[in-house]
Amino acid sequence: MSNILNIIKNKQLTHEQKVTSLSREAENTLDVLHLSPKIKEFMEKKIICDLFEGNAPYRPRYILPNYEKFMNQGSKFLKLDVPTNLYEAVNNLLILYKHTPSITNFPVFLGEIDKLLEPFIENEQEAYSIIKLFLTHIDRTLTDSFVHANIGPEETKAGMLILKAEAELVNAVPNLTLKYSAKTSDAFALEAIQTGLKAAKPYFANHNLFTNDFGYNYGIASCYNGLPTGGGSYTLTRMNLKNLSFESTGIEDFLNTILPKGVRLMCEMMDKRIQFLVEESGFFESSFLVEEGLISKERFTAMFGIHGLAECVNHLIKAENIQDKFGHSKKADNLGLKIIQHLEKEVNEHHNKYCEVSNHQFLLHAQCGIGTDVCTTPGCRIPAGEEPELLDQIMQASQFQKYFPSGVSDIFTFDETASKNPKYVLDIIKGAMKSDLRMFSFYTKNNDLIRITGYLVKRSEMEKYRNGEKVLKDTVELGVASSKSFNIDKRKLIQTNN
């Protein structure tokens, strides 16, 4: 009860933030999942975590509507006709966004907005103004950095206008990904790089890798999560590999006993969450998104997340000096790979009847961490400040990223001179994609808008929050905590001016 009163009286929260927090409190008064004592034990030891998804899941964590279908049919429920011009197209999308839930209560996927708007681009000058208003509307009303739009891979007029607008506006929302492939023109990629060096977005996603995993109907949502469009993910939970390693007596015990045990318990928890959502919450029976064919249960999967791989490996091999540690030593990296391969095998052996789209299997995810993490590096990254030389880091990360179809990324920080030679960045990205890196993310070190662990926040907003002021985006608070926990300012700076 005191939690609820604290939320109500909190002067640092906007009204919308209070409502979201209060709804979480209400949900968490329930105990309907009936988790086993063993699961609860692992949760108390901070080995398994439900990422505060709530005690009674009533909507899927991530929903990726089929926006193309929506634009071709309009909506009966929302009383929207098929758009005939850019104003109507933008208006229809903005309305649907407000009715697309997720774990954050904001939409985590806005669609391939360049392809959605391209048919309506006539006068480019006018289109640019409308696109700027569209993006500004998103930033000021969908006030959460996990709201994510996609463009590409082909160059379009709309795509170019979106990139130019993002470079001009420099807003934290939406997050943005360019699906990158050999079909992406260098001109489009270079425009994206120039935007990225100003606005810390877009991500460059390895379109070949993702289409191999999902076919062409996939989207990048929330932080950097690859998921089927027309569906999404019921849930994301995560396992702290560092803390799990503390349960073991050594490498073999970890691989053969402790890791399988952890996987079994977390899969059991995920099964319960999915079962409640699908069989009891009534979401799939009542949502107009399902009725109108914009999502279907058959296109949902679930995400098995991990973090702390670096610390897990370093603990198991008792590495103390940097040259022996994960990211620097073949022995450490090989163990890391072995752990991920064992993990994949264990997770793939589990079967969930509601995950039809992913062959009834959960998908691995490299979770980007939360602000309360202590000395635990996100996903399978090398700890900030310990990164090796740039190309070595990319080639190391590439070995791991291919195992995580539902999301993984590495973040690279450039100095200001990169903007004078964007082809330099493009060459690096091309090499990264050829090396099977799944997601390449970058920003310029001293810019205001930066990438925290997967989402974007402005330094100036974080400063306001630290000073006790209200901020519009709920993710600013997360950014403040995570910046500290993950030593973001210690990220290796790639100095281009030697």
């Binding site: 030679n421 082809k423 091309k430 030697n498």
Partner: protein, 234 residues
């Protein structure tokens, strides 16, 4: 055959277009007082420099192979790379066999016939022109400029120049230099960039200021008026 190599960078944004693998050769036949890589000038006669590595072409090629997907090409710099002529030529030929583009940083003070031959093996040169005036050139570098200009004119005619650089050093009036170089570029190959580099005092014993922005812009305007369309100030 081994080359005396000061340093290798697997990625660089400032040594030609795109990302480039850069090899800094040890040893230089100039001795510019404003050199920002002075540690590359000397070569120990008994090969005892602790910071210099003696590497084979195959060893260097192995390193290039590992990162070839990440680079637009290789830039060979220094020091003055043409001093190790035979080694450089072998390296350039190897890169060509592997379809790896090569640029060379050079002071262009190489025997003309050798420069003609070498130009068959690299893709582009990025030569420095220190200063046009003979006396000033000798005072700055210890060498005369005639051969430099002869080589650069030849390379421009063969479309073998990516950019020409001149460091704008205080105490020298560069109007004549910029005029001569811009006219040459405008006459022979307008696509070439002329990079005017502001002197920066990397060596504490030099009590000198960088040239003003006004000076740099005046030189840029002069170059543009002479028909040189790609001028960069750094």
């Amino acid at each position: 055959m081994l080359g005396a190599i000061n340093k290798i960078l697997k990625h660089s944004a400032v040594d030609g277009p795109g990302n480039r693998f850069v090899i800094f050769f040890q040893g230089c036949n100039f001795n510019c007082s404003y050199c920002h890589n002075p540690e590359t000038i000397q070569v120990c006669p008994t090969s005892s420099s602790p910071k210099v590595n003696y590497l084979s072409v195959s060893c260097i090629m192995e390193q290039i192979e590992k990162v070839k997907h990440f680079i637009s090409g290789v830039t060979i710099s220094g020091g003055e790379c043409t001093l190790q002529y035979d080694f450089l030529k072998k390296l350039l030929i190897e890169c060509r066999h592997k379809n790896i583009s090569t640029f060379i940083d050079t002071n262009a003070h190489l025997e003309f016939e050798k420069m003609k031959e070498l130009s068959l093996y690299f893709d582009k040169a990025m030569p420095d022109i220190k200063v046009f005036n003979e006396n000033q050139h000798f005072k700055l570098t210890g060498k005369l400029p005639d051969l430099v200009f002869k080589n650069i004119e030849f390379l421009l005619q063969r479309n073998k120049v990516y950019e020409i650089r001149t460091v704008i050093y205080p105490e020298i009036d560069y109007k004549e230099t910029v005029e001569k170089v811009s006219s040459l570029i405008a006459k022979l190959n307008k696509a070439v960039t002329y990079k005017l580099i502001k002197f920066r005092n990397y060596r504490a014993h030099l009590n000198l200021q960088s040239p003003s922005d006004k000076t740099m812009l005046e030189l840029k305007d002069m170059a543009e008026n002479l028909g040189c369309s790609n001028i960069m100030i750094t």
